[in-house]
Amino acid sequence: MKNNNKTLKSGSSGSGAARGLPPKSTKLTESESRDDPKTLRAKPQFFYPPGGILIWMIIVVELLTFTAGLGAYAWQRSLSPEAFSISQSTLNITAGFINTLVLLSSGFFIAEAVYLLKKGRVRSSLHRIAISISLGIAFLFIKGSEYSDKLSHGYDLTHDSFFTFYWLLTGFHFLHVLTGVVILSVLAVKIHKGIYNHDNYLDVETGAAFWHLCDLIWLMLYPALYLIK
């Protein structure tokens, strides 16, 4: 981190050369220009969404998977609405609501973290990521308490159709949040070490996109499982 700062300061006040970029006067070749994410970001191109195409392919597949799962859940519920309603009434709607606020706030902080990193405000960016990680852990804790409560009352995966869907859908999402917390922690360490900065932030954008995916999935799960009866 210190070495990087020295390198930046020793250059001509943060010039392109000091940051590993070609001098402004040097024209990029066609292939160089094509491969530069910043050049590609100028015009919206299908293959270069924020965070890279790979994460967006994952996001689309994941959203489709959860939509299919929730569609199957809604179809099953339409076949035996009373049985589903009885099981659904055991869920803690307020805990789900708090978890919604927790994830939305976490998403807000990670969006700010990416923005601040792009602006070169590494310290502020790290603070936001730390808050996001803390909120992610809070989500896991609240959901874990809910799981513990359900298990203590015998509402496990095999209890009935509703709880089979509940455990599969929320359990899969729980694993996503857990993975997201690990990804954000790794990104925070690498930002702290100076590996990611205002010139090299694509991986941070990708990690943030994965974290927002957790938001999106929960935004679908909460009304479908907890609210619509």
């Binding site: 924020p50 489709l64 601040l116 909460y222 609210l227």
Partner: protein
């Protein structure tokens, strides 16, 4: 930009509170429609603002919008 994020976050919180307050009456078809609509709006805000997709290629917006509409349709279809 951070101001835009804050406004979006506030809007998301208000929509989440609105959804939560609808929970008691969600057995009615109209409220299922309203819940689905607020869910689509919340997801759109996250995608467009937090994930910065408003400047992305329109095909991405079509794909993501299609998934959100599919979700809302399924919820409405099987709760009717």
């Amino acid at each position: 930009m951070t101001k835009e994020y804050r406004i979006t976050w506030a809007a998301l919180v208000i929509l989440a509170i609105a959804s939560y307050s609808m929970s008691g009456r969600s057995d009615e078809e109209l409220f299922v429609a309203m819940l689905s609509a607020t869910t689509v709006v919340k997801m759109s805000l996250v995608v467009l603002v937090f994930m910065e997709m408003k400047k992305a290629h329109p095909a991405w917006l079509l794909i993501l919008g299609g998934i959100m509409l599919l979700f809302a349709t399924l919820m409405l279809l099987f709760s009717a």
